[in-house]
């Protein structure tokens, strides 16, 4: 559906994208994650045709590959990381303007606009001036705008930044709904857990390089070293610790808040076997969990500048 082939973008001496290869399947939600300045916005601008790549290719449309700017505009909806609103237009006029820029017939506009405003929950703001909307509302309006011509591919640059928790949840729900309508969605964020909840696939980008791509689960599973397991026994933390010392490297095991915590290098079945062993040794377990936030640890570890250079690209498919 959408393919980036060896994409390079240089701004003078700055290399913003350093040979990106990526395949984004139809009807998936792909999340671009990376720290500030990683190249997310640059990649998205190249995909939308706003920026010329220094070298490499963007292939849009699979078998019916896009041949012209006009065709590209029809296929792609773009929501940049800023609002872009006119202060002297009302919400419905704003939408009407963008409907015009895609040459949607006058007669069909009202229905399209009403449907989209409903989708993003702005129906009651129809006649409000755009610049009087709150930040979150503007963001939702911009999402509605990017959908005005019913594009197949949505490119959303940090759609959830600056939203309150409820709006975030709603935004995610809208994106899932859009996916179920058959859209391919590319979102960026620098918050990995946020994306992991809604994306089907994720690409971690740092310093213009893709350092990991795949499904969220796959990425985590393949980063064994980063997985931290917490176990809370019914009683006798000492007994559990002693037992674990026979199985794992002693130095890694730490006790915290009535439980035990240790990095675990094995996969899920190895973890299951370990839990079974513990239970068989008459240690009652209350909870076994993966440490919250370990996703962030992975991310921190991957996007660490010193680390990034020596990390091989991890590709999971």
């Amino acid at each position: 559906m959408l393919e980036l082939v060896n994409l390079v973008k240089k701004y003078g001496k700055v290399t913003a994208l350093d040979g990106i290869n990526l395949h984004i399947a139809s009807e998936s939600i792909f999340g671009f994650v990376g720290p500030n300045g990683a190249g997310k916005t640059t990649a998205m601008k190249i995909i939308t045709g706003l920026l010329a790549a220094t070298s490499g290719e963007v292939r849009v449309g699979g078998a019916n590959q896009v041949q012209s700017r006009h065709a590209l505009a029809e296929k792609i909806g773009y929501m940049p990381d800023f609002f872009g609103v006119y202060d002297d237009l009302k919400v419905s006029e704003y939408m009407d303007f963008y409907a015009g820029t895609y040459y949607i017939p006058y007669s069909g506009r009202r229905a399209v606009i009403d449907r989209l405003l409903d989708l993003v929950n702005l129906t009651d703001k129809r006649d409000e001036y755009v610049d009087l909307l709150s930040r979150g509302m503007k963001q939702r309006l911009c999402l509605a705008r990017s959908l005005i011509h019913d594009p197949e591919i949505l490119v959303l640059d940090e759609p959830a930044s600056g939203l309150d928790p409820r709006s975030r949840v709603e935004m995610k729900a809208v994106l899932r709904q859009l996916r179920s309508l058959g859209k391919t969605i590319i979102v960026s964020s620098h918050i990995l857990p946020e994306l992991s909840e809604m994306c089907t696939d994720i690409g971690i980008i740092s310093h213009g390089k893709m350092i990991a791509t795949g499904t969220v689960d796959d990425i985590l599973r393949n980063l064994h070293s980063a997985r931290v397991i917490q176990i809370r026994p019914l009683d006798g933390v000492e007994k559990l610790t002693d037992f674990l010392r026979t199985k794992l490297e002693a130095g890694d095991i730490t006790q915290s808040m009535g439980g035990v915590e240790f990095p675990f290098a094995g996969d899920d079945s190895a973890l299951a076997a370990l839990v079974k062993d513990i239970v068989n040794n008459d240690i009652g377990l209350v909870a076994v969990s993966e440490k919250q936030g370990s996703l962030e640890d992975v991310y921190m570890q991957l996007t660490n500048p010193e680390h990034a250079a020596e990390t091989e690209t991890i590709s999971v498919s």
């Binding site: 041949q67 940049p80 006119y86 006029e93 303007f97 015009g100 820029t101 705008r145």
Partner: protein
């Protein structure tokens, strides 16, 4: 289905909602009327002439037209040179560039939007100037010619300003450069040609030694043709030539005839009056500037680097 240019349509909606649009146009028409009344009153009162004389209305008509031209040349860059930079600042330019609109559509929409006020002013002033038709100062056909001349001049000034707004990312620089181009066209061309005429005039008539070298050179046909073309670039010269053709009061053509044309019967190869040449030149310039603007505005111009294979 044919649709109104989306950019123009948007600006039209906001302009028509804005009371200032109508106030500006109304104030302008009132201003023209007041000027006309004052001049008519003053001329009668000061006893330049006895009673009513059509000649005075011709002069007033010419003066008011001059004011209108000056207004166009001063106002159009002020409105237009910030257009594209304004979209850049509001961060709406990228949003337009990813749509199905071509950059040509965007440029034309912006040009129409910024000319809208001036066009309204020109159109609204037609009844005022029409009164002079009634007084016999000018014929309806000549009024039409003048209105056309104003529209074309405004379009040329607008397209220069749009181009500046695209080329210069900083709004201030765009304004300054737009005005500089207008200054170049209206004043500097005339100054250059004027001073050459001056040299020609003095050397020829005083028969100075310099004249022996200079005059034959200046008087050579190609050079005089070139100077005339340079003058034809100038909207003010075009305007004077138009008035000259209309009323014979401003004797530009006789001036030019004396110093340029009839000297050895040289005329522009086109055989057209200067104002008409000026209109054609301005139409040509507008097309070039709009075309160049559209090309420069296109993002990721090297589409080969994009996909499409």
């Amino acid at each position: 289905m044919k649709m109104l240019n989306p950019v123009f349509r948007r600006e039209l909606i906001t302009a028509l909602r804005n009371r200032r649009t109508f106030m500006a146009v109304g104030a302008y028409v009132l201003f023209l009327l007041a000027m006309a009344a004052f001049m008519l009153y003053a001329s009668i009162r000061l006893d330049f002439i006895e009673g009513f004389h059509p000649q005075i209305t011709i002069t007033i008509y010419n003066l008011l037209s001059g004011i209108q031209l000056a207004l166009i040349i001063l106002l159009v860059p002020a409105i237009t040179a910030g257009q594209i930079n304004g979209e850049r600042e509001r961060q709406t330019l990228d949003l337009m560039l990813v749509t199905k609109m071509s950059t040509f559509t965007i440029v034309v929409g912006k040009l129409l939007s910024s000319l809208m006020l001036v066009l309204l002013m020109i159109v609204a002033s037609v009844p005022v100037f029409g009164a002079f038709v009634y007084f016999g100062a000018v014929s309806p056909a000549k009024l039409l010619e003048q209105t056309l001349f104003m529209l074309v001049t405004a379009t040329m000034a607008g397209s220069v300003s749009i181009l500046c707004s695209i080329v210069f990312k900083r709004a201030m620089v765009a304004y300054v450069f737009s005005y500089f181009v207008m200054l170049l066209l209206t004043t500097i061309t005339a100054a250059v040609v004027g001073s050459i005429f001056n040299v020609l005039h003095t050397t020829h008539f005083n028969n100075m030694q310099l004249g022996g070298i200079f005059v034959p050179f200046i008087l050579s046909l190609q050079w005089r043709e070139l100077f005339t073309w340079l003058l034809a670039l100038n909207p003010v010269v075009g305007f004077l030539s138009l008035q000259d053709a209309q009323s014979g009061t401003v004797s530009l053509d006789s001036f030019l005839t004396q110093f340029l044309f009839n000297f050895q019967d040289v005329r522009l190869t086109t055989q057209l009056p200067l104002w008409l040449v000026n209109i054609w030149i301005n139409i040509g310039l507008s097309c070039v500037f709009v075309g160049l603007s559209s090309w420069l505005l296109m993002p990721a111009r090297r589409l080969g680097k994009f996909s499409f294979s």
